[in-house]
């Protein structure tokens, strides 16, 4: 008996089903095209600290995104990983995004720096960014820490969403001199209950079975698809946490953006489900946080 992966998502089959046969590729490729609007919720600008990347020039990255049919990209900055003068890093990000219609700036915040709230207010207030991105593994704090709760509360008050980089790369391939542990997401359950208006997205997680269970237990948290691997990885993630909580992300230019796009097609789900993950869910997530802010492009 053959099951479609789309049935898996919509609950016709239990998540533990061992043998799932998707719709035929002809069925998929013959009828499904990229949605007219595609939101990549996870790109970064400028240079990765540890090597040059083929798309680390903004022009080349935007050209590639356009070729792939990605119409909007939420962009943070690799400079946010290690720079202490994070205000100037965010200003470079903002200035660059203002020259590109498809780029939406998402500033980096490091709550271990003195006066981090000033950076937060600049990003979500004066610069009217829709959200911020955090790198706990690189900045040396834990989601259990009170400072994270304070940051989440403040960002929520300012109507900004919060993206948390679960990782930036596979821990097995990091530089020996810059080891950053994966983020433990479990404390989020407490914070998301405490702040019912908070909007949080996890980025760059290659979710294990236990990760999926954890994500499903955290209210409202959404997850990007950039490192969701396995031929039916997107489908099983959507089945575990709900398709409305899966947002397309590529983690370009660190990862090859085609990879995340192809995985959407490979997932064997319907065009409607693809549209939801590549566009609608991102719109809903962003809309919920920006109802009282003006457009970031001034």
């Amino acid at each position: 008996m053959a099951f479609h992966r789309r049935d898996l998502i919509h609950g016709a089959i239990t998540a533990g089903a061992a043998s799932v046969v998707a719709a035929s590729p002809e069925e998929n490729t013959g009828t499904i095209s990229m949605p007219n609007k595609v939101v990549d919720t996870n790109v970064s600008l400028f240079q990765w600290p540890f090597r040059r990347l083929p798309l680390d020039e903004v022009d080349e990255l935007c050209l590639k995104l356009g070729q792939l049919g990605i119409t909007e990209a939420w962009a943070s900055s690799f400079e946010g990983l290690l720079h202490r003068d994070i205000r100037s890093a965010n200003e470079r990000l903002l200035n660059t995004c203002q020259t590109r219609a498809e780029l939406v700036p998402v500033g980096a915040i490091n709550p271990t720096l003195p006066d981090w709230k000033h950076d937060l207010h600049l990003c979500l207030g004066r610069s009217a960014m829709p959200g911020i991105r955090l790198f706990p593994g690189y900045h040396g704090y834990d989601l259990r820490d009170e400072v994270f709760g304070e940051l989440l509360a403040t960002a929520t008050k300012l109507r900004g969403f919060v993206q948390i980089a679960f990782a930036m790369e596979d821990t097995r391939t990091q530089s020996h001199h810059m080891v950053a542990a994966n983020v433990d997401p479990r404390p989020l359950e407490h914070w998301m209950q405490k702040f019912p208006e908070a909007r949080v997205q996890i980025l760059n997680c290659r979710p294990s079975t236990s990760d999926k269970q954890i994500f499903s237990s955290i209210p409202r948290v959404v997850v990007d698809s950039s490192r969701v691997d396995g031929t039916d990885g997107v489908t099983t993630l959507a089945s575990a946490i709900g398709i409305d909580r899966v947002l397309f992300g590529s983690h370009a230019p660190f990862l090859i953006p085609e990879a995340a796009c192809i995985r959407m097609l490979e997932s064997g789900v319907s065009a409607a489900d693809i549209k939801e993950m590549m566009s609608t869910n991102a719109d809903n997530f962003r809309k919920a946080t920006t109802t009282t802010t003006t457009n970031h492009r001034r």
Partner: protein
Amino acid sequence: MNFGLPSAETLRQYRIWDSYFTPSFSHPGADGSRELIDDIERSMPAIQLGHFEKLCYFAHVGIGTTTDSALENLLQNQPELVLKPLERWPDKLLGMIQLNLHNTAGSMKALDRWLKDGPMLGVYLPGSGPGAANCLAPNVNKLVERVSELGGVIMQHTWLKTSGKRSPHETTPTELATLASRHPQQRFICAHAGGEWEQGIRAIRNTPNVLIETSGFDATAGFIEMATREIGSKRIIFGSHLPSRSLGTEISKVTAAKIGEEEKKDIFGRNYRKLLSTIQSRN
């Protein structure tokens, strides 16, 4: 191009032969094949979407490469079970056998049974599980020599981890290069390019009888460009790691790379076909 995937015509022109297909990799199922066949079926949509011509998987043949003694006995007593996937997909699948480096006698016997007499085309030297041992273990030389006599291909699992080896039985690209330098007549495939490919590529660069395989790590940008620059497209072999990795992750490493179309054809299949040609001509 749709969803970043080249057209069907372009994919067919690449003539993709997948050197690293890993359905039910650790255990084929209690009956010797059911879980393996299920996992192959699970992979079929991606295989068809990618227009793969052939895929090579790594069979357990009852020499102690799993921890399931009942399965090992079953495969020893009913070796025909090993052939079930190849019989089901005769035009699509190729096979190699997993060796147990702690069971030299059994492995030597298996080489005669499965490579000399066919239909298997080479061996997989595991990096984990009960069959794994470091490739510089003394008994490995004897096995390499026999594979070489038979014209078989050697796929060695490699990973170079920031945290160091999880087990002394793991092999790094540097260790594989050392082994390969002792056996210049034999060509070796460095599976996963060591995972951390910036060092993996450098480690095997000066050992021309080592090729790298492309799967098993994230679609990190720049990998194929560096590999092509440093060792040339003739020493790179495509692998999919399906179904535990995805078509998107693995095929995009090559299709999206800033290299020539002929170089992509080398990587996707031409090199692998050449590597297999010795033993295929004997069989």
